[in-house]
Symmetry: C4
C-alpha cells in the first residue's frame, strides 16, 4: 500500500500540460489538487496499487461536502482503467434529483479521443449512500479480502469481528429517532463487535440497489456492505473518512481470513469467559469449603 | 501492483536524454509516449512490479492498430531485463508475411553497447494471436498464479471459474460463421463460466506454437492460453484491452488458488442448487398436503 | 517495503511550497530533511507502505538525541492519516516533566484548516520508553504479523525465536547494577533466543502504560513489547536503530508465523539435540561393549 | 518488486548535490550512474523493496569487470541500512591479494558524520566467488523464501527443482578439465534439474567460508549457495547476470514453497511417467490381444 508520491511540484507540471486542452474554467477548477475530481484520480491510483480496482473493476464517488455546493457529486466513469483516470473524465450530478450537470462526453475530442463514456453502474448504489446516510464519499472495490470473506462464510448474511485494536478506526453509529437519521456518536471501542452485512450478488450491478438499501436500513451501525463473490461498498462523512474506513475494514478482513485459517474465532465470547471464570470460582469455593469441612 | 508514475514531465526529460543518440526520425518517433515501443517499456515495468517478468522472463508484443499501418508489430527482444527495456530495443515486423523491418542490432553501438539482440522465442506465438484472432497486442508472463493453477489442476486441460464479479471484465467471444472469425459480442456475465485452455509446456518455447494454435481453434471463447509449469499468454483487441484482460485473469487465478485451498468449488453448480430447491419445495408441499390431510 | 524516494531535489521544492505559511523560524527548522519532525513524516510514509499504520493506526515519536537539546520529544498526533502527516503537525514536549512546548493547534489555520489536533494516546507509552530505557525513538505499529503472533500464541506471555540469522540485527541488552540502567553490550548472537513480552490489550491505549512498564522492567533484554490483538511497540537508541529493530522484528514475526504453520519449532532446542546425541553415543557404546563381550 | 525509477534527470540532480563534498576525482567517478558503487546503491534499494535486506541484513559486492581494471572489487559496508547506502560508503579492494585501496572512513566527516565503517562480514565469501568462479558480482540476501526452503528441507543438503520454465534463466555450468575452470556452456533446459547446495549456518558469517568453498567445489553446476536459517549467496559473470540469477532463483524458491505446501513434488520424475505409460501400453496391448482372441 504505497504512500502517495510527495512530488507535488512535478504533479502540477504534468497536470497543467494535460489540462491545457480544457476550457479555462475547467483548467482552473482542476488546478486545485484537493478538488474532488483530482482526489478521485489520486485515490484510484492508490486503490489500484492495493489490487482493489485492477482490470477496470471498482469505482468511487465523492460529494463536494466542503465546497460551495455540497449537493454536487463526482462519479468515476464505468469500464476505464482506474489508475489512469483523469479529472475531466468524471460525471457530475446534483442531488437530490441527480440532475446530470456535466459528462466527460462534453470534453474536447483531443482529450477523450472520441471515447464514449458511460456512467458507473454503481451510480444508484452511491446515491443510496448519499441519500440514506448523508455520506460524503462512497468507495467500491473488488478487494480479494472482501470476496474471500463472503466465500468462507457463504451461508452467513453478515461478517462480525471483535477485540482487535483496528476496530477503533471505525465509527459507532446510532439511529436518532428525533432526526430520523443515523448519526456518528463516537468511534467503536476495542471490545465492540464490528458488523458488516453481506448481500447476494446480482448479474447487473444496478440490481444490487434494493438489497443494499435494505442492508443499510437493517444495519444502522454499518458503514459498509459486502457483496458476495463481488467486493465491498464503504462510505464515510468525507472522502478521507471513507478512505480510512475502507483501509481499516480491509485490514480487518485480511486479518479475519488469517484467523479463520488458523481456527481462531473472529468474535471473542467474553461472556463465556466470564461465566467460565465464575464456574471456576464456584468450584474453587466449593473445594475450599470442602477442605474446611475436612479440616 | 503500483500505478504508473504520474511524473510525465520528468519522463520526457529523461527520455529525450537517452534518445539523443538515435537518428532524428527515431528520436521523433519515440518522443510520443503512446508509441507502441514506449508502451511496451511502460507495461514491462508494470509487469516486473507484479513479479510477472522477473529474471528476463515473459514478453510482450503490440500491433500498431491505431497507427497509419496496423500491420506493424513491435516485439520485445529475448533475454533482456524487461523492466529496463528501451524503445529502440524492439524488433519491428510487418504482417502478414512477418517481414523484418527493423532490429535493435541496427541501433548505434553507443546505445546497444554491441549487445546482439535476438527476437523473442515467443514470436511465432504472438503471430498466431495476430493472425487467428486479429489481436492488437499479446502479453506473455510467468505469473506464479498461472503456474500454480496448472500445477494444482495437473490432470486438467482447462481452467474454469464462474460467479465472480471480476469475470465481467473479460469478453464474450463467439465464432461468426459468415466472417469465419471469432468476434466479441459482449462482456462475460457474472454467471458465465470463464474457460482458459491449458497446454503442456515444451522444452523450446517456439514448439508451443502448434498446441497454442490448436487451443485457440478449439476454444473460440478464450482470450488466453495457460502453459503448464510455465505461465500464460493473453491477447486483446488493443494493448489496453490485453492489459485489462491479463489483470482480470490474474486476479481470478489468484482468487481461484485461495478458493481451491479453502475447498470452495471454482464453478458454482447453479443447476444443482435449483434442483435442490425444487426438491425442498416438493417436500415442503408434501408436508403441507399431509398436514392438511391430518387436519 | 519500498525504499525511500531518492528525489531529494523534488522533495525540497514541494516542501518549501507547503511550509511557506509557517513562521520563518519554523520554516527554517523544517527545511532540514533530518529534523525529527521530517523523519517522522518520512517513516510514517514507509510504515504505511508496509501496511503497519493504515487507517490512522499506529504512531511514532522521536527524541532529538543528536540535537542541541536531547530532552525534546516530537510526537505524531492522534487519529490522522499517517502517510499524509506534515512536519508542523507534531506535538513537542520536553523531558523529564513532559512540558508541552508546541502543538499543531498553534499553527496558522491556512495549514491546519482548523482541525483540532489531539496528542497521541500512545504518549505515556512513548514516555515510558524514554524514561526507563533512555530510548531515542519509539515506534508503534498495528503490523498484522505482530497481531497474528499474539493470536497464535494466545496463552503465552512472551514470544521467543532462536537460530535465525536476522536475530543478529537486535541488541543484547543487560542490566547494569552500578548504573541501574539497561545497557547495550553487543548484538544478539545467531544462537541467542530473542524474547519479546506480550501484554494484554486494554480498551484505552493509555491504560497499557502500567503493564508496558512492568514488561520493560521484567524483560531487561527486550527492545520491544507486543500487545495482544493490537500491535507492537519497538524502541531504540536512535530513530534509525528503532527503525532497524522494528524491521528486523517484523521480519522475524513474519517468518515465525510461516514456521508455526509448517510445524517448525521457533526455538531450536540445542540442549535436547546434544543430550540425544549423548544418549545415542551411550547406547552405541553399550552396543559396542556388548559386542565385545559376545566376542 | 518495483521497477527502478525512470527519473534519471532527478537522480542526477540529487546525486550531484550530495557528492559535492567529495574530492573532484571521486565526484567525477560517481557521476556515472553505471559505476559499480552506484549500481550497488541502486540494487540495494531494489533488494530492500523485496524484503531481502531489511534491518541492515544482506550485502552485495561488484567486481568492475567492464572497467579498465577488472581486479577492482567494490563491497557494501557492514551494518548500515542497505536502502540508504551512498556510493562513497563502499570498501574498494584489489584482487588477487585483496589489497585495501579505499575505505569510507577516508571520506570527509561532513558526509560520514564520523561513523566508523566496517567491511562486510561477507567479504571472504564474496572473495571465494571471485577467485573460484571468476564471478563479476555476488549478492547475499536474507530472503524469507531462501530461509523457509532450508527449514522445510531441514535434513537435506541441497535444494532441487525441475520442469519449471523459469529454470531456463539460469546458466548450465560445466567443469572444463583443460582450463580447470567452471564454464557457462548454455542455459539450463526446461527439463533440467536446478540444484543449489545448502550449507549449515555458523555464529560468525566469516566462518561460513570453508563450507561455502566446499559447496562451490562439490557443486560445479551451482551459481548459488543456500545457508540454513540465514539466506542465500548468488553470483554471476556480471552484476546484471547475478541480479537475474538471484531473481530467477527467488521466484523458484517462492514457487517451490507453494508446491511443497500443496503436496506437489519439486522434481518431476519423468522416467516414472514413461515407465507407467509403457505399462499402460502393454496392458492395452494385452487387452487388445485378448479381445482379438475372444473375437
Amino acid at each position: 500500500m504505497p504512500a502517495p508520491c510527495n512530488c507535488k511540484h512535478v504533479d502540477k507540471v504534468s497536470q497543467s500540460t494535460s489540462l491545457a486542452a480544457l476550457s479555462p474554467e475547467l483548467e482552473k477548477e482542476f488546478a486545485n489538487p484537493l478538488h474532488p475530481a483530482n482526489l478521485i484520480c489520486e485515490l484510484c491510483r492508490l486503490f489500484y496499487d492495493n489490487n482493489w480496482v485492477t482490470g477496470t473493476g471498482g469505482g468511487i464517488s465523492i460529494r463536494d461536502v466542503e465546497g460551495p455546493n455540497p449537493n454536487l457529486v463526482y462519479i468515476a466513469p464505468s469500464g476505464v482503467q482506474k489508475e489512469r483516470i483523469q479529472p475531466w473524465e468524471m460525471f457530475l450530478v446534483e442531488l437530490p434529483d441527480e440532475k446530470l450537470l456535466r459528462t466527460p462526453n462534453d470534453i474536447p475530442d483531443e482529450l477523450t479521443k472520441k471515447y464514449k463514456y458511460k456512467p458507473s453502474a454503481c451510480t444508484p448504489l452511491f446515491m443510496s449512500c448519499y441519500k440514506m446516510r448523508d455520506a460524503g464519499a462512497c468507495i467500491h472495490t473488488h478487494s480479494q479480502n472482501a470476496v474471500m470473506i463472503t466465500l468462507l462464510f457463504e451461508n452467513q448474511s453478515q461478517f462480525e469481528i471483535s477485540h482487535i485494536e483496528q476496530i477503533k478506526a471505525l465509527p459507532k453509529l446510532v439511529y436518532n429517532k428525533e432526526s430520523s437519521k443515523v448519526e456518528k456518536v463516537a468511534s467503536l471501542e476495542y471490545y465492540d463487535t464490528l458488523t458488516i452485512p453481506i448481500i447476494e450478488n446480482t448479474p447487473h450491478e444496478e440490481d444490487l440497489t434494493d438489497s443494499l438499501q435494505e442492508a443499510i436500513k437493517n444495519f444502522p451501525g454499518a458503514s459498509a456492505v459486502l457483496v458476495r463473490r463481488h467486493g465491498i461498498y464503504v462510505w464515510g462523512e468525507t472522502v478521507w473518512k471513507a478512505k480510512i474506513y475502507n483501509e481499516a475494514i480491509d485490514y480487518l478482513l485480511e486479518l479475519a481470513i488469517k484467523m479463520y485459517q488458523a481456527g481462531i474465532p473472529l468474535v471473542k465470547k467474553v461472556q463465556d469467559t466470564i461465566e467460565q471464570s465464575e464456574i471456576c470460582c464456584n468450584k474453587l469455593q466449593d473445594t475450599i469449603e470442602q477442605s474446611e469441612i475436612v479440616l
